[in-house]
């Protein structure tokens, strides 16, 4: 399986887990969007172009929050340290990059990156508001 199909399979699996945990639809979508942004950025920046990105995604559900944990053994890459794009420029004048991680920061309630030994670990927490 190529990296792209593997990523899609992981995202589909995440979405299925979220649905099985009966999360509200807007939360399921936010988590899927966030996970796609992280996976594509880690593949791009923590791994050389010809290296298949190896990445582990865990999801944990508690009563009030869902936690996504991304772990990879690529080169050090802190997605939260990426410079934010200037969103006040008119769309026509914007650079095309940086939007994905800006979405990640905005769509989760807590985000923490750590370099643990040779691993990049990113933990994202999304609060589950009662519907």
């Amino acid at each position: 399986m190529d990296a792209r199909r593997e990523r899609k399979a992981a995202l589909d699996r995440l979405e299925a887990c979220c649905r099985a945990a009966a999360l509200a639809e807007p939360i399921v979508i936010d988590l899927r969007v966030v996970a796609e942004e992280v996976l594509t950025n880690v593949a791009k920046y923590a791994f050389a172009p010809d290296t298949p990105p190896a990445l582990e995604l865990r999801v944990a559900f508690a009563e009030r929050a869902a936690t996504l944990e991304f772990r990879d053994r690529g080169r050090p890459f802190d997605p939260l340290a990426a410079p934010a794009p200037d969103l006040d420029l008119p769309p026509e004048d914007r650079p095309l990059g940086g939007l994905g991680l800006a979405l990640v920061r905005a769509l989760v309630d807590e985000a923490r990156y750590e370099r643990e030994g040779t691993a990049n670990v990113l933990r994202l927490v999304k609060r589950l508001t009662p519907q």
Partner: protein, 125 residues
């Protein structure tokens, strides 16, 4: 669900791309290909009808930005119609569109296009 893209041509120089499904890293290239075809023609107003779009990621936003840049170069406009809540949320975060270019429904958009055409006729020599 993948992305479906339908092209509609109504008024002169106006093209509408109706998107349904999911706009993400896998499907944005389909939209880019369609955009290349649309932008190869004479178009002054490009409308994205997003009524059937479940969500968009930054990959979709990049396609929209690209079309906004391309249309500005030809002094045209990109307009957005029927943003659903998950798409609206991402647009708000990324400030992806000017408020003036987002329309709630077809009626609002038609009124705007009527006014624009009327103005163009009046300004014509």
């Amino acid at each position: 669900m993948a992305l479906s893209i339908q092209l509609e041509e109504g008024r002169s120089f106006t093209k509408t791309l109706r998107l349904a499904g999911r706009l993400d890293n896998d499907t944005a290239s389909d939209l880019d290909n369609e955009l290349d075809k649309v932008l190869a023609g004479a178009v002054k107003v490009l409308v994205f009808d997003l009524g059937g779009l479940e969500y968009t990621t930054s990959a979709g936003l990049r396609s929209f930005l690209r079309s906004q840049k391309a249309m500005r170069q030809r002094e045209g406009k990109v307009l957005f119609l029927n943003l659903q809540p998950p798409v609206q949320k991402v647009f708000d975060i990324a400030k992806a569109a000017d408020v003036a270019s987002v329309f709630r429904d077809v009626k609002e958009l038609d009124d705007y296009l009527d006014a624009m055409q009327k103005k163009a006729r009046e300004e014509a020599p």
